[in-house]
Symmetry: C2
Subunit: 125 residues, 2 copies
DNA sequence: CCTCGTAATGCAAATGATTTGCATTTTCAA
DNA sequence: TTGAAAATGCAAATCATTTGCATTACGAGG
């Protein structure tokens, strides 16, 4: 169970991106290498090793991003655009959960749904 | 485009549940009626009409819940259990987004990932 | 340096959730 | 009452992801 060259390449692709990526975006960015199954297996591997995280929006597709980043998202429900921001207020809520629930928090996901600037404009027409 | 008896039944199922439900949970709760495609079409219809909302966790499966409820989630990454809570601190963040981004917020999704009480116990073994 | 076992990869087929095309049935306004 | 539009059922298709199996690469021990 090691960080092979492909896994390393995939991790690099993810870390260098300023947005979360889907499996096929990663596949394409690496010129369709390695094999698709290898991409998926690598993603699973990297996620288990806590090097990357994933989030899914409305589409049933997973988006992957580096664990080094603490992202939150603006997700456009019309065109699917994903914009990221970093400001986070989960800490207060975390205290609340720790106090009131028997649950061990390891991570959190937060995103706003709505309309991005383009789709917002479209609506006016 | 009306609220037919099946759509109404499905909406009722969702509203009466204290947890978000998947399409097949809804299907089962209604004794496998109506047809699966009708369930999916009804869910899409209800979501467009803003009567229900959906969220997806790690599995690529959608969970549906009533729009009347403002849920947030504790999602167990091991067994998939979903617990809900209502406390919300999104408002402050919302102000921040409105001030700094050109994005029209229509909704938000928040959940903690982690281990539920059972899985937390399992880990100790 | 060889070599053997384990882990990683490639390929094709399978899976699971969801969607779609099309034929049939229901609904409801004229 | 009737005819068009919408809703439903059924089966097949789709999309993202996973799996089985044969092949290849890698690393420790000889």
């Amino acid at each position: 169970m090691v960080l092979t060259k492909w896994r390393e390449k995939i991790l690099k692709t993810i870390e260098e991106s300023e947005k979360p990526l889907t499996a096929d975006e990663i596949y394409m960015k690496n010129n369709f290498k390695p094999n698709f199954s290898t991409v998926y297996r690598a993603l699973k591997f990297l996620e288990n090793k806590n090097l990357i995280k994933s989030v899914s929006f409305d589409t049933g597709q997973k988006y992957f991003y580096s664990n080094k980043k603490h992202y939150h998202f603006l997700y456009c429900i019309k065109c699917g655009e994903i914009e990221v921001f970093n400001k986070c207020i989960a800490t207060q809520l975390e205290e609340f959960i720790n106090k009131n629930f028997n649950f061990k928090i390891t991570d959190h996901v937060f995103y706003f749904k709505g309309l991005c600037k383009n789709c917002k404009e479209d609506e006016k027409k």
